[in-house]
Amino acid sequence: MLVPLTHMMTLSFVLFSIGVAGVFIRKDVLTVFLCVELILNAANLAFVAVANAFGDEFGHVAVVTIIAIAAAEAAVGLSIVIKLHSDKKSMKLSSLNELRG
C-alpha cells in the first residue's frame, strides 16, 4: 500500500458525502441519479482500498457486483425518468406528489 488506508478511506468518505449532499440539494431527477452513481463509486473505492490493504480479493468481486447492480439501476431508473417525462413534462422531484392525500 503506497498511501495509508486512512487516506483512501477519507477520500471515499468525501466522495460519498458529496454524493449525499447532491441528493439533498439538487431537484432535478437526472442529477439526483448522477449523485447516486457518485455514492456507489465511493463505495467501490472503499472496497478496492480495503482489498488492497488486506490482500483479499473479495473487494474486487464486490466491485464487479456493484457495477452490475448500478447498470441495472440505471436502466430501470432511466426508463422511469422517460415515462415520467412523457406523463408530466417535468423533471423536478417536487412534481412527484401523486401519492399525497
Binding site: T10, E37, E57, V61, I67, V76, M91
Partner: protein, 165 residues
C-alpha cells in the same frame, strides 16, 4: 513519486465530484462525473486493480454514464433554477466536507492492521476471474439474476398501457 500521482488523482476526483453538484446544467454535471470516474479508475490501477480500472472505464463511463447523457439529450433537459436555499446549502457543503475530512483523519485509524504482502498476480484478470467463478460464484449468479430482472422490468415499463392488456 507514485504517491504524488495518488494525491493528484484523488484531488482531481474530488474537484470533479464537487462540480457535479455545483453546476446547474445536468449535461455538464454528467460530463464532470465522467471526469471523476476516470480519476477513480486511475486510482484503481494504482491500487493494483487494473481489471477494475478497465471495467470502470468500459462499463461505468462507457455504458452507464453515456446512457445517462443520451437520456438527457433525448429529453432536452434545461438548466434548473436555483432557490436561495439551494445556493446556500451548495456552498455550505464546500465548507462542511473539509471539516468532516479533518475529523475522519483523526478518528479513522488502521495502524493496528499489519500490512500484507500482495501476491504477484493480485487483481489481474486471471485471479479476479478465478475468485468470481470459484469461491464467490453465488454472487456472480445473483448479479445475472438482477440484470435479467432489470431487463424484464425495463421492457414492461416502456410498454404502453394498451399493449399490456
Amino acid at each position: 513519486m507514485i504517491e504524488n500521482l495518488f494525491y493528484g488523482f484523488a484531488s482531481l476526483a474530488v474537484i470533479f465530484a464537487y462540480m457535479v453538484i455545483l453546476i446547474r446544467n445536468p449535461i455538464h454535471s454528467g460530463l464532470s462525473l465522467i471526469g471523476s470516474f476516470f480519476c477513480v479508475s486511475a486510482l484503481f490501477v494504482l491500487m493494483k486493480a487494473p481489471f477494475l480500472g478497465v471495467i470502470q472505464i468500459l462499463i461505468y463511463t462507457g455504458a452507464i454514464l453515456v446512457l445517462f447523457l443520451y437520456v438527457m439529450m433525448l429529453l432536452n433537459v434545461k438548466e434548473e433554477e436555483e432557490t436561495t436555499w439551494q445556493m446556500v446549502s451548495k456552498y455550505f457543503t464546500l465548507v462542511l466536507v473539509p471539516v468532516g475530512m479533518f475529523f475522519s483523519f483523526k478518528v479513522l485509524n488502521f495502524k493496528r492492521l499489519a500490512a500484507r504482502e500482495l501476491s504477484e498476480d493480485f487483481g489481474s484478470v486471471f485471479s479476479v476471474g478465478e475468485s468470481l467463478l470459484g469461491s464467490y460464484v453465488f454472487v456472480f449468479e445473483l448479479a445475472s439474476v438482477v440484470l435479467l430482472a432489470a431487463m424484464i422490468g425495463v421492457v414492461v415499463l416502456t410498454k404502453r398501457k394498451e399493449e399490456l392488456d
